[in-house]
Assembly symmetry: none
Homo-oligomer: 154 residues x 2
DNA sequence: TATTGTTATACTCTATAACTATA
DNA sequence: TATAGTTATAGAGTATAACAATA
């Protein structure tokens, strides 16, 4: 495919998703008591999937430095959404995990984000909806291959 | 459309988004090595397409506040990538446009970013690429209406 | 009075570098 | 010596609110 088209395509995708996140993302619920920034939300998502993960592990999965993650973890601990304790087998390492209030908050936020997004998708024809599915699957397949290639390189 | 289908669609979009951010997100940070952040890059892109645009116009297209845009524009002006002058027909308005050095910088970035972002989209047929565009425009229009509704409420 | 843009303030996220504690 | 995490510092981006200039 034409290189310029590929570049345009990449830009369009980034712009669109950026707009989606600004509109319906966890940050957009400003007036709600359940409010997490996008990076806090992503961190929680990783800890949901990898209970007891270390800070380095989360940092690597986020594509951020341990220093940056340390701050994000601080804020989540302060809010009571995760707990942080020292590993006994290796006292340098942290053990991070979502607390019960954290789980409840995530459930609520996830439901809110989805419902807000769904709100804005009403009016989509079944045909348009199918096309959205197709494109999402298409993009996901491209990202997955790219991801595993990256993982393989590490 | 069926509510469950809409919800499924919303979930698919969210999942895809997370995956894309995980794959491309950290890499988009590396753009700063070319002295342009992702938001600065997006701003330049808008000004390339809309020469002489006002600050409000750019802010609306970015989904950001005029205040936030004012800062981004400051940094781009300082770097000499865009110019900013007052409109003569309406002296409240700004006229923003890319400078020649700005154009050269964008060309350089364009070339560099191509190899990083676009490699994940290679293999897309022209038809698939068109479909991606269509869906992105579709989603963006839904978000933009939502955005302007929000703006209208304020 | 409404609109356009800026500034003051405060917060999140980010990286680099210097640091402590542990292995 | 190497690794895990923290802190200090600095910079970008963000929003709200108060403000100036212009319409």
């Amino acid at each position: 495919m034409d290189k310029d088209r590929v570049m345009e395509c990449a830009t369009t995708i980034m712009d669109t998703f950026h707009l989606i996140m600004r509109t319906v993302g966890p940050e957009s619920q400003k007036r709600s008591s359940l409010s997490l920034s996008f990076q806090q939300f992503r961190t929680m998502k990783i800890l949901e999937r990898h209970e007891g993960a270390s800070l380095s592990f989360v940092a690597e999965h986020m594509g951020a430095t341990p220093s940056a993650m340390s701050k994000v973890v601080d804020s989540l601990v302060e809010q009571g959404y995760i707990y942080r304790r020292t590993s006994e087998s290796d006292r340098r390492k942290l053990i991070l995990a979502v607390t019960d209030p954290g789980k409840q908050a995530m459930d609520a936020i996830h439901a809110q984000v989805l419902s807000r997004l769904a709100e804005r998708l009403t009016g989509l024809s079944p045909c348009e909806c199918e096309m959205v599915y197709l494109v999402m699957d298409l993009l996901r397949s491209k990202m997955v291959t790219a991801q595993s290639e990256i993982t393989h390189q590490l």
